[in-house]
């Protein structure tokens, strides 16, 4: 545990400051990080720890001060820039690509190998090695979206390890590790320290910190209050430094509460394991403070009590429950709407006469709330976005006052607002309690909790750990009760361990993931089985259907669909969609026909069509990017534009294809037409591109989790450009093969093509929200739809049912998938 005699300063922070929305999070922080040390960073919630590590990891940039690496000032403009300097961070709630495997996510920081074909074996081996080093049994192939929160954290840890950092930042790494896993981590950290790595270790577990750290820095309210050798500190000294002696703030006192219970909770457990065994009662006029560290389950408990989170147990509420969420920007504000509309949205019953809103009544309600809450706004008609944070919060409180609730659940009501507004909100809360409202006040501000509440409930790791009556406990008692217990038998119950009893959740989740992975692997098998069944059944009905010529025709019909479906799969995987491809197909077909009729060879005509298609696809991407438009609107517009250009170009006359092009769909090597070969080769290329190249993986990742993509330095816009251009090229090829089959280019050529292609892609497993899609799936999806079209006449079904069937098939497949996702745990909500 001794540091080297003359420590090498790896990284130095000088006067680093940062504020958010006018609120200071860091004040001139100085910090020296030495090579070969474990440097612990401790402090209460909101002390500025995460802001500090986010600055070091390049996620945010400080406003004041400088960061020096090896004595030179550096700008950490992005996580990539930080990574180049040797910084790797494992955050508490890491951003992962949820459809990708654990192994691939482990390579997020370091980047996948740049080989021409990504060596997945090696990636998996290295990942397994890194996971084994951490004592984890997570299979490298497990889908990240199916991992539990603690497993995701282990993945992030492993990723930070294989990046071979010089500065390793760990945020609460043991929060959800078992004892054995923690010990193993400490051993790894010790090895790294010996190897000269600096580890910045953020933790609430003071015993652990004192045991493994060389030095400890304590942050409080954004300032460094103490920085010392670990040997010179003990737990009490740390708690004192963390909590400090605050100025005694004035808190308005609510009068004694009534005896009547308004809310009763018995044995409440969260379905996803954030809390369990919760029992509490709230009385009329009582303020119950709910304190706990981040991740202790308080927010989740509040959501469950308000009815916005599924939980098992008994909740008896006498009266209406109002809920003010923690993240008001994301969860409460109705941006763009006026203060008036924001104030009255929950109380429409009070201002409506039948189906109509009584404007006069509404204005008087809104105005009276504005006065009562002293919301500083020029009027009630201005947009809520223009108000300051404190006034927004008062308005959201007002929204619930308008409903005259019996029970009020407030999650961090004063977080991030200025002192004046804070005091006013405290006065309001006390007034409400005096008026008989039972209030559950969730807060990480100790002095607020102690100052406001009749009773303080402390949550720790998903359970209620302690309960103090007002005046019975001081800040240090409450603060200590909230800290996780040091190593002991009960530590095995990590917040995630509440699932079914043994086998532990990890193993169970792995099994579920394996099952789902098997199903998804079977999507191709299932499609192939359906295709085979249709072929056999149709052949049964009409043996001519099984003749070589007939099957070749089916393949010819399928080829253009398959080509376009491959491209569309790529675009959908990126999180976009292109509905202009029908018109694009017509334009490209016209180009090919005109070129061929002018005497060009078939190869030239095909290349010309593909080039034109790529151009048109790139135009779609360019418009979406430049106009910041969703691809739906862009391609809905170009759908009309391309069709118009096509009609203008052909002058509404049919174009006839010369034999050179018609032959493409008639003959080819081994008796298989060129068009079919084209589709098969394209499928092979896509298979390689999506599965084996970094650009292909980038397409999947950009659609999977754009925030993670940004954080890991992927270029979202150029990835989309590429996908759209490739789709265009595919449609160009498809155009030639499509028209070669029918011999003419007509005014309505390609109409409805987009639906068939999107349906094929979706059936093949492309996920409409982005992030998933395979070449084999697209090929099989297209084959199924092409086959349905060919088999339909055999069964005597009229052509008009074709589109109905395709549309219904697509919706059915998506609905089935939603149903399966609901049955599997851990899937994104």
């Amino acid at each position: 545990m001794t540091s080297t005699a003359s420590p090498i300063c790896l990284c130095r922070l000088r006067g680093v400051g940062k504020s958010f929305a006018g609120l200071r999070a860091l004040w001139g922080v100085d910090l020296d990080l030495h090579a070969g040390e474990i440097h612990a960073l401790v402090g209460e919630n909101g002390a500025g720890k995460s802001t500090l590590i986010r600055c070091l990891a390049g996620i945010i940039q400080p406003e004041d001060g400088e960061i020096l690496f090896d004595g030179r000032a550096v700008e950490l403009t992005s996580p990539r820039a930080a990574h180049r300097l040797g910084v790797a961070a494992a955050h508490q709630a890491p951003e992962l690509f949820l459809w990708r495997s654990a192994a691939e996510n482990i390579f997020n920081v370091r980047g996948l190998p740049a080989d021409p074909f990504i060596p997945w074996k090696r990636v998996e081996e290295e990942s397994r090695e890194a996971l084994r080093r951490l004592g984890s049994e997570i299979p490298p192939r497990a889908e990240a979206g199916l991992l539990s929160a603690s497993q995701r954290q282990v993945v992030a840890l492993a990723g930070a390890l294989i990046a071979r950092p010089r500065l390793l930042i760990l945020d609460e790494p043991t929060a959800s590790l078992s004892e054995g896993e923690s010990e193993r981590l400490f051993r790894v950290l010790d090895e790294l320290r010996r190897g000269g790595v600096c580890i910045l270790y953020v933790s609430h577990r003071l015993g652990e910190v004192l045991r493994i750290a060389d030095r400890v820095t304590v942050l409080r309210d954004g300032r460094v209050v103490r920085s010392d050798r670990a040997g010179a500190l003990d737990a009490d000294a740390l708690v004192e430094a963390m909590v400090g002696r605050r100025l005694e703030a004035y808190y308005p006192r609510a009068p004694e509460h009534g005896a009547e219970t308004v809310l009763e909770v018995e044995d409440l457990g969260d379905e996803r394991g954030a809390f369990r065994g919760v029992r509490l009662a709230l009385h009329r006029g009582e303020i119950a403070g709910l304190y706990g560290l981040v991740g202790a389950g308080r927010t989740e408990l509040g959501q469950a009590l308000a009815g916005f989170r599924r939980a098992r147990g008994v909740v008896r509420a006498r009266g209406s429950v109002a809920y003010l969420p923690e993240d008001r920007i994301r969860d409460a504000n109705l941006p763009g709407l006026s203060l008036r509309e924001n104030l009255t949205i929950a109380a429409l019953d009070r201002i409506a006469v039948g189906p109509l809103i009584d404007r006069r009544r509404e204005r008087s309600l809104a105005s009276s709330l504005r006065e009562k809450l002293d919301i500083r706004a020029p009027g009630i008609e201005g947009s809520i976005d223009t108000l300051s944070g404190g006034n927004q919060q008062k308005a959201l409180l007002g929204r619930w006052l308008a409903t005259e609730p019996e029970i009020l659940i407030l999650d961090e009501p004063t977080q991030g607002i200025d002192v004046g507004a804070r005091a006013e909100i405290h006065r309001l809360i006390a007034d409400l309690a005096a008026g008989g409202c039972g209030i559950l006040l969730i807060s990480s501000d100790l002095s607020e909790v102690l100052g406001m509440s009749h009773r303080v409930i402390v949550m720790r790791e998903g359970r209620i750990a302690a309960c103090f009556a007002s005046g019975e406990a001081g800040e240090e008692d409450v603060g200590r009760a909230a800290l996780p217990e040091e190593r002991g038998p009960s530590r095995r119950h990590s917040p995630d361990a509440s699932g079914p009893p043994p086998p532990a959740r990890g193993a169970w989740s792995d099994r579920a993931s394996a099952r789902l992975a098997r199903f998804l692997g079977q999507r191709e098998a299932a499609l192939a089985a359906v295709i085979a069944a249709i072929i056999i059944a149709t052949g049964w009905r009409s043996s001519r259907f099984l003749a070589w010529e007939s099957l070749r025709d089916v393949a010819c019909d399928t080829a253009p669909l398959a080509l376009a479906a491959l491209g569309q799969t790529l675009v959908i995987a990126c999180g976009a969609i292109d509905i202009s491809i029908g018109s694009m197909l017509a334009l490209c077909a016209a180009a090919a026909a005109l070129m061929a009729n002018a005497g060009c060879g078939a190869a030239f005509a095909v290349a010309g069509a593909a080039a034109l298609g790529s151009l048109l696809g790139a135009v779609n991407a360019a418009i979406s990017t430049a106009g910041r438009l969703h691809p739906i609107i862009t391609t809905l517009g170009t759908l009309g534009i391309y069709r118009a250009l096509f009609l203008e170009w052909t002058d509404r006359r049919w174009l006839y294809l010369p034999d050179t092009l018609l032959d493409l769909a008639r003959s080819g090597p081994f008796g298989v037409p060129v068009s079919v070969w084209g589709a098969l080769i394209a499928a092979g290329l896509f298979f390689h591109f999506l599965g084996g190249t970094r650009a292909g993986r980038a397409c999947l990742k950009v659609g999977d989790n754009p925030r993670a993509a940004l954080a890991h330095g992927l270029r979202i816009e150029s990835t989309r450009w590429l996908a759209f251009a490739i789709l265009g090229g595919c449609v160009g090829l498809a155009a030639v093969f499509y028209t070669a089959r029918y011999g003419t280019v007509q005014n309505n050529t390609g109409m409805g093509f987009e639906l068939q292609v999107i349906a094929a892609a979706v059936l093949g497993g492309a996920h409409v929200a982005g992030g998933r899609g395979t070449a084999a799936g697209a090929l099989l999806g297209a084959a199924l739809i092409g086959l349905l079209a060919s088999a339909r006449p055999v069964w005597g079904i009229h052509e008009r049912w074709q589109l109905v069937g395709v549309g219904a098939l697509m919706l059915g497949a998506l609905a089935l998938e939603t149903a399966i996702a609901r049955l599997s745990p851990g899937r994104r909500p």
Partner: protein, 330 residues
């Protein structure tokens, strides 16, 4: 000018009104026919259906959705009414009522699929666009149906005190939707859902029901449009109204609505509708090919939508129109 995204009147409407007047003046100068009220009146009738689809499309777009299936619903309802009357022998007004029910049900089905199976609005209506069109073909059996009674056709070509009856229907539809969107409870829940679906749900707005109702309204509007369409043309075909959804969406976007939801107004869309109608009528009368009209519509849709997103982003100070927050990625 009021700052709220839901206010019915604002600078956009002034600009649109000015643009429409300039457009009208321009065509009046260059086209003699455009100056003739009877020609204009006659031409306006071609726009009634889009005029009825547009305000309902606004409601759908306000909640952050999009409805590509309206034209197919229109065709389905049209052929259903005519067949129910001419072949099943149902009295015409019963047939029309059944048509309205079919339209509303088809729309509600769209919304229900989105809510129940969590499929994005675009994908659902893209699929039902094909499904409802296919059903229309199945009902029509490849024939053109006609034979509607005089009383019904009055809706299409009759005059009430010199005003076309279809105009009266059009005005009624706009009046009802103006009231519902800007003065009704329904409108509040619509704007709330479009502004932030999550926040609206936490404020106890029944967002799922709102979505189903918005799409049901869109289907109902398509059915009303189908009644006027069949009454005027005295026929119904399964390929009626192709492309009407694009015109309706263009009106909404021209009217200043944000495709990301939460921003737009009925008067704005009305002016967008008048502007698009004037432009296309003028081009028609000048003998400009339909191809070029199609091209202008598409280009205008893209240009104005991009402009709207810019304005919305500037107003709220963040990138609300960024690709991550739009109908397909909901």
């Amino acid at each position: 000018m009021s700052g709220s995204a839901s206010s019915p009147w604002g600078s956009r409407q002034t600009v649109l009104l000015a643009a429409a007047l300039v457009l009208a003046a321009f065509f009046a100068v260059i086209s003699e026919e455009f100056r003739s009220p009877s020609v204009l009146l006659d031409q306006s009738c071609n726009w009634v259906e889009v005029g009825i689809l547009a305000p309902a499309m606004l409601v759908v777009i306000l909640i952050g959705g999009i409805d590509l299936s309206v034209a197919s619903i229109l065709a389905l309802v049209g052929v259903s009414i005519v067949r129910l009357h001419a072949e099943a022998g149902l009295p015409i007004w019963f047939a029309a009522a059944a048509g309205l029910a079919i339209g509303a049900a088809a729309g509600a089905l769209n919304g229900w699929i989105m809510v129940a199976a969590r499929i994005p609005d675009l994908v659902v209506t893209l699929a039902t666009m094909a499904i409802y069109r296919g059903l229309a073909q199945a009902v029509a059996q490849n024939r053109v149906h006609s034979g509607l009674p005089e009383s019904y056709r009055f809706l299409g070509d009759g005059l009430v005190a010199g005003v076309p009856a279809q105009w009266l229907v059009l005005i009624a539809v706009w009046a009802v939707l103006y009231t519902a969107v800007h003065h009704g409870r329904f409108g509040r829940t619509i704007y709330g859902t479009g502004s932030s679906e999550r926040a609206a749900r936490l404020a106890r707005v029944p967002t799922a029901r709102v979505r189903v109702m918005a799409y049901a309204l869109s289907g109902l509007a398509a059915a009303v449009a189908a009644i006027l369409f069949t009454a005027r043309s005295n026929t119904a075909r399964s390929d009626d109204a192709l492309g009407f959804e694009l015109d309706a969406i263009t009106c909404v976007v021209l009217g200043g609505a944000s495709i990301a939801g939460g921003r737009g107004s009925v008067p704005g869309v009305f002016l967008g509708f008048v502007g698009l109608g004037l432009l296309r009528t003028g081009l028609d009368l000048k003998g400009v090919d339909e191809i070029w009209q199609r091209l202008t519509t598409g280009a205008m849709l893209i240009a104005v939508a991009a402009l709207n997103e810019r304005i919305a982003a500037a107003r709220t100070g963040r990138r609300r129109g960024s690709p991550a927050e739009s109908p397909a990625s909901r």
